[in-house]
Amino acid sequence: MLRRIKIDWADLPNFHPLETPFPAPERIYPGLEEITPESFPDFLNEIGLVGMGGSGFPASEKLRAGIGAHTLVINGVECEPGITIDQTVLLHHALWVQAGANASAKAIGAKRVILAVKDHPAQMVPLQKLYPDYDIVPFPDRYPTGAEKLILKKLTGNMPAPGIRPYQLGYIVQNVVSLRAIGRAMIDGFPVVERPLTLAAPASRFYKNTIVPIGLSVREILAAFDLLYDPARQLIVGGGLMMGCEMALDDLIEKTTTSLLLLDRAPLKKKERNCIRCGACNTACPLDLHPYSLVERIQKGKTHSTAFQAQMTECFLCGVCSAVCPSDIPLVQTLTEGKKCLP
């Protein structure tokens, strides 16, 4: 005969509420079967996805324009030196990335998915295991290979003309982190509320890839990782060494903040000197432009020639010319102004 055991704390009519450690899905998003070219851009708008590689271009517009493209390119080539978040997401969040890539490929009707990664022999084997269905194309580990134009140059064989969008060539290039966000929404029901980013303080040998909620301030993140910050001596750079900008302590993490770097201020203070016309900027320019000639023309206001406008349209302000200039001339800042001279 079974005897009832009385448990004194178990008040069965008023049972303890079940506390889930994780919040429930905010809403159920469509699965892979329900994705159609018509509904997918709206779904991207609903989760609030923008280009998370740093551009911030609305992903829904890109996808809507690209319906009918034959190839989806997963851009895992880290553009900026010193940032490793794309590779990390590829290796550790393969499920989400694959879900996002498959959904995007289905929506645009792509026949082929290309995974563009940096050419590191050590990570090739795990990547081939994780992404057996995709064509893995290695790219040289040299800034700025991760730019859309240069990826297309390698894939199509020639440089796309200035002003031509990738979908006009039949390609859609999506950043890894964007695809991860799509997969996260489809599988877990989370809209874009978090941002994987690289957090590094090279002076103290602190390197970490982490996922932070969007909207947190830089101060809170530094406090969470016990990083010391001295505004007089150091500066915080958000978004990469080459194209990023300085951030203040109270600035918030946005969807496009790819990294937070704590750099020493002293070695960055450079005094501009006279141009010695060595042509290092010409040699280094990945697009074979003439950066200093462009800068001279901008300063003199001679911006109406077709040669100038064609080159200025082509430039995507990667900053390589400034980085290699032996005279430390801020070429890329002037080129940014020159973009305004375009019609």
């Binding site: 003309a161 060539l169 750079v237 080459m242 290092a280 000639s293 032996p326 801020p330």
Partner: protein, 321 residues
Amino acid sequence: MSSVKAPFLHSGTRTSSMATWALSALLIPGAIYSMLYPSPFIFQLIGYALLGGLAEGLYHLIVRRKLKFNPMGSALTAALIAASVPPSMPFLPMLYAILIAIWIVKLPMVGLSLRFNAAMVGRLFLMQVYPGSIVAWGTPTPDVISTATPQELYRSEGFALELPQLLFDRIEGVWEELFLLVPGSPGETFPVLLLLLGGLLCYRGIIAWRAPVAFLLSFAIASAAFGDSVLFNLFSSATIFSAAFIVSDPVSTPMSKGGKIGVGILIGVSNAVIRHTTYYTEAIVYAVLLGNLFSPLLDRTAFMLRGRRLNQRLSQPHWAG
């Protein structure tokens, strides 16, 4: 607190160290020359380099009213002049040449797009005003042949010069005994070493390889086309020296890649033409100055051509969905 702007990364050499590198590269053949042909040339070279630095200092003090300057560029110019003329050149002409090069050509023209190679202007001055000193080659004897390089001798007397000797060693034997010769300009005496040094400078990113390589190739081809001995022309009369130190000068050659190749070809071909058709074996001075004159034009042409090619690509048909 000054604001720092992107990019937050810098790579490559800085201007401050470029001239230092080239000057130290120039000191090596100078030192070897002093050891092989016992002469105080290396001390002359250092002395003239100091003089060049001093001249730049004076210029800054008087014209710009400030004491902060980097004397290495002017020191290099002065050393280049000293290395491209015979060591027997008297002090006063050298002083004039250095002052003309630095005070008239080098410093006031900073920032202009048309620049001239200051060392070559200094040498041009010496060639025009002191023609007797610039070709003084060794000690005058009754049988004196007075020439800056073995080229002249080769042309006028038809002497065969053994190539290995020309490349690596001090020139001995019948030449020295007959004419008491030592080669004229110390900078150009060791072509193979100069070639190696030029390669090192390219590797370090101090000089760009396009102009020197285009110069050497086009010069060799043009010499062959005229029926002259290619190897002899390449390894004598300061050809390698000019490729490593003069044609590669960043300041006075074009910035664009195409312009660099263009100026190399221009200098190479005109050098071969002048050597073949006239009696100037030291054509390089004129050829380099001619190349400098064309540099802004070449740069502008390269810029226009790049723009035109971009526009052509824009009008090409592309994938249409």
